[in-house]
Symmetry: C2
Subunit: 209 residues, 2 copies
């Protein structure tokens, strides 16, 4: 009977969540392992027992915390809806409303993008993990747009690759804008621009079903 008293989480999980919070707020390099173990109610020994070093802890945060959450926020809905334009707009609307309400994300931005911008030039392991996440997303978007073409929701002459790349870049930029401006209204305005773009992917009314 050595497990945590009030919670059912394992020490490892508690450290992982604390590490996510620390890195999310302060960046990976500036994030302190001492702060992490303190806020997880653990010790250096426990941390280095479960993770080889700071780098591996960072990788685990990406793989086990950030990526799963990103999939839930951005991919699940995409596969349920038949009209991709509508699905993508709904995704953005829901996530923007959520992140404006829960101020944390508006202040601290997108966890995956934060790590991407900080670590990509410095650590190839981070870069590849993060890039894989974005690539999966782009491919899912492109596939959804292709399906949308067949169902008559999207114009045939749209380059689904370019559109997917812009949508992902748009998310990065919209959340980046919000983080820098700390202005939910500006965030919504940028999103409106994106919705206008998404609508422009639709067939002109005369030709629709």
């Amino acid at each position: 009977m050595a497990e945590a008293p009030a919670t059912e989480e394992s020490r490892r999980t508690r450290i992982l969540r604390a590490a996510f919070e620390e890195f999310y707020r302060n960046g990976f390099q500036a994030g302190s392992l001492n702060h992490i173990v303190a806020s997880a109610g653990a010790t250096k020994g426990a941390l280095f027992h479960h993770f080889e070093n700071k780098q591996e802890l960072g990788y685990a945060v990406v793989d086990e915390v950030i990526q799963p959450s990103g999939r839930r926020r951005w991919l699940d809905l995409l596969e349920q809806e038949s009209d991709p334009v509508e699905a993508i707009k709904a995704c953005f609307r829901r996530n923007i409303a959520e992140d404006i309400e829960v101020r944390t994300t508006l202040e601290c931005g997108c966890p995956l993008n934060n790590l991407a911008q900080e670590m990509s030039p410095l650590d190839e392991g981070f870069r590849q993990r993060i890039e894989a996440g974005y690539r999966v997303w782009r491919e899912a978007l492109a596939a959804a747009l292709e399906r949308g073409k067949q169902l008559g929701h999207v114009r045939e002459d749209v380059s689904s690759g370019a559109a997917a790349a812009l949508i992902v870049a748009g998310q990065m930029g919209i959340w980046g804008t919000a983080k820098n401006s700390q202005d939910g209204e500006l965030m919504r305005r940028a999103a409106e621009g994106l919705y206008a773009y998404l609508d422009s992917l639709r067939p002109s009314r005369a030709a629709s079903v």
Copy 2:
């Protein structure tokens, strides 16, 4: 005889440029003042003589190095061209071609955005300085789009505020994508998406001059 031997630059300027390089590559927090003085061929004494502390040095890098360069790259051309859609596309094309050729920017991203993402939640001075830069850019874009409406280059029902916000967010995201993927082709693809959006702002052909 204490001045620099080969160059005409003042010590202050050399430190400033070295600081820009260091912060650009490693981020502000992880950037080391020791590295800066070493690569500037100066000393701690010189650094702290010209700048109060690390924070003020960072502010000076934003104000005196990054912002002027950004203005040259993104604003000057905007005011010379009458068709804003064409001017914006030309700007992106030129800067993308340049940054793919000079690999540094492709690897390290946009200096202003890097600092924005790292420091906005941590230091209000950084946040405000950077936000001011982006706001000026958004306002210039919106103004150019409004002028474009009067000249018949842009549809009347376009929200120039939303479009300007999306274009700036797009730049953040496109450069962010490039930095993470280190893939110039993907960068161009995302930009093509943006060009398609910009074209969609034009009046339909039938109504044009």
